[in-house]
């Protein structure tokens, strides 16, 4: 059975409990991610990247600084996973330590034309 590709968007609500983690917490997060990545290394096609907080918004009327300031949730990063079904992709994403971050919301979208 061919696998499908899923784009995972990391959204977060900047207002929710965003105190910086302590060095010890960072190390725990690092270890948790490493464990998760090792476990799903065959399913994570691309670890993606973090997105910087500033951007540009382009429309017919011009270019503005973005992202949309009125947005309640900011897309902070992305990655691409491979799975047979949505359920498979959900299983990978649910196990990701990022899910536990305060205010975190991970959105999964299948890439339409790119079967593996």
């Amino acid at each position: 059975m061919s696998k499908h590709k899923y784009l995972v968007l990391f959204r977060n609500q900047p207002s929710v409990g965003q105190t910086a983690p302590s060095p010890e917490q960072m190390q725990q997060m690092f270890a948790a991610y490493k464990t998760w990545m090792e476990k799903f290394k065959d399913d994570i096609l691309d670890m993606g990247d973090k997105l910087k907080s500033d951007g540009r918004v382009v429309s017919a009327s011009g270019v503005a600084d973005g992202p949309f300031v009125e947005a309640k949730e900011v897309v902070g990063g992305y990655m691409i996973v491979a799975a047979d079904t949505y359920d498979g992709a959900v299983a990978v994403v649910r196990a990701c330590p990022a899910v536990d971050a305060p205010g975190a919301l991970l959105e999964i979208r299948e890439l339409a034309g790119r079967k593996m």
Partner: protein
């Protein structure tokens, strides 16, 4: 990748799931803050801490994708330095300072494991420790500043470990920072040699740090052990440097290792406290005992016999006694008498009375306390009443014993301590 000694930041442990030794981020925080503060000056301590925090966050994001770099310490240093340079550049008044800092290569070269770099790190960590122990900073602020800048604990983690509120920790920290800002503006941090006069204050803060971990009765063992480990880490660093390589430092290390050896056995399986005579001596940590004995030997030089010598001697008597019954109580009583002369305190008298009671009987214990008027802080303290309850009962003063027993139980600071007292006093009294 082979294990390499990297000085205070420790080797990279390839066997750990993350590829990083335990507390790597926390200890790197202390290392980087110390080194960078040295370059830009104490008035910029907060900017330095922000830059280091930013570098660790960058590492968290980057290393997951790229893997841990060959030399993570150098990577962190480079990124933290860049963060700091950016922040200070924004602050127009600091252009000149930055220009001065730029004389030194920001990346520490490609060989940060060289002895020169390790030596520098050791010096800077120690310098920062001495800076934290400035006598003009209130003592409780010194401890908090050391925990924050050298041990890399967050304000929340410090509050949790010291059983106080975050607001209180923040206040203590702010007081220390105000102090650091007042002085030394536009000057470099003082040389280690100039700071050497603060050695007693450094010892006091390390000892305080250790005791916060060792004596606290209401937190999980692992959390208490962590503060003890940090105290030993800092003292070991101190002992390895000419500025702190003196018998009193060695005695302090001996004392801490010997106490730490017994830390795990002080609790039963459910977190309750155990009396010394109930402790399973086979649980005492052999490595700490060995280290304690080694440092004690090194401490036995020179012509100064200080309070740490006396306390280490007492701890050694307990640690190296075959059993509770075979403890050399007379030797312990003598050591407490020495401690009383060095550092007069009724708590030492109280401890000497306990030792004398074991060695020569309860009457001798009571005789030692005869005429001692406890100061306000000790009068009404559970230890004072508990000892008196025990001694009075053993000589047959039942009503006096009961009065002290009731007072001791009422004053117990935690459930674990109260249970310990009930068992101790009920068994002896009952």
């Amino acid at each position: 990748m082979p294990l390499r000694a990297r000085g205070p930041s420790g080797p990279i442990d390839p066997t750990s799931p993350s590829g990083l030794v335990e507390h790597y981020f926390r200890h790197e925080y202390g290392r980087l803050v110390s080194v960078l503060v040295r370059r830009v000056g104490l008035p910029h301590l907060e900017a330095v801490e922000d830059a280091v925090q930013g570098a660790l966050l960058a590492a968290l994001a980057t290393w997951l994708v790229t893997g841990v770099p060959r030399d993570p310490g150098a990577w962190l240093f480079r990124v933290a330095h860049n963060h700091l340079a950016g922040a200070l550049r924004k602050d127009r008044g600091h252009q000149r300072i930055l220009a001065g800092a730029a004389d030194q290569p920001p990346d520490g070269g490609e060989e940060p494991t060289s002895p020169a770099f390790d030596g520098e790190v050791r010096d800077e960590l120690l310098r920062m420790l001495f800076v934290c122990c400035d006598e003009r900073i209130p003592q409780e602020s010194r401890l908090v500043l050391a925990l924050k800048t050298l041990c890399g604990f967050s304000i929340g983690e410090i509050a949790f470990r010291l059983f106080t509120s975050e607001a209180n920790v923040y206040k203590r920290l702010a007081r220390a920072r105000d102090r650091l800002r007042e002085d030394d503006v536009n000057t470099q941090t003082p040389s280690l040699e100039a700071l050497q006069v603060r050695l007693p204050s450094v010892h006091a803060v390390i000892y305080l740090l250790f005791n916060e971990g060792y004596l606290s009765t209401n937190a999980a063992h692992a959390i208490r052990a962590e503060l003890c480990e940090e105290a030993i880490r800092l003292a070991t660093l101190l002992a390895a440097h000419p500025v702190g390589s003196v018998p009193s430092t060695f005695a302090l290390l001996a004392l801490m290792h010997l106490h730490a050896a017994r830390l795990a056995s002080r609790q039963d399986g459910t977190g309750g406290l155990l009396l010394l005579e109930e402790q399973d001596r086979s649980l005492w940590n052999a490595e700490h005992l060995r280290q304690g004995a080694t440092w004690l030997e090194r401490a036995a030089h020179g012509d100064v016999f200080g309070r740490f010598h006396a306390e280490a001697g007492i701890a050694a008597e307990h640690c190296f006694a075959e059993s509770f019954a075979e403890t050399r109580w007379n030797a312990i009583a003598d050591l407490y008498a020495m401690l009383e002369r060095i550092d007069p305190s009724p708590i030492h008298t109280l401890n000497r009375a306990v030792a004398l009671a074991e060695a020569q009987g309860p009457q001798a214990g009571l005789a030692a306390l005869d005429g001692v008027v406890p100061p306000a802080w000790l009068d009404g303290h559970y230890l004072w009443d508990a000892v008196l309850a025990d001694l009075h009962h053993r000589v047959g003063n039942t009503s006096t014993a009961k009065r002290h027993r009731d007072q001791a139980l009422a004053a117990a600071p935690s459930v674990a301590v109260r249970q310990l007292l009930e068992r101790r006093l009920t068994r002896r009294v009952g």
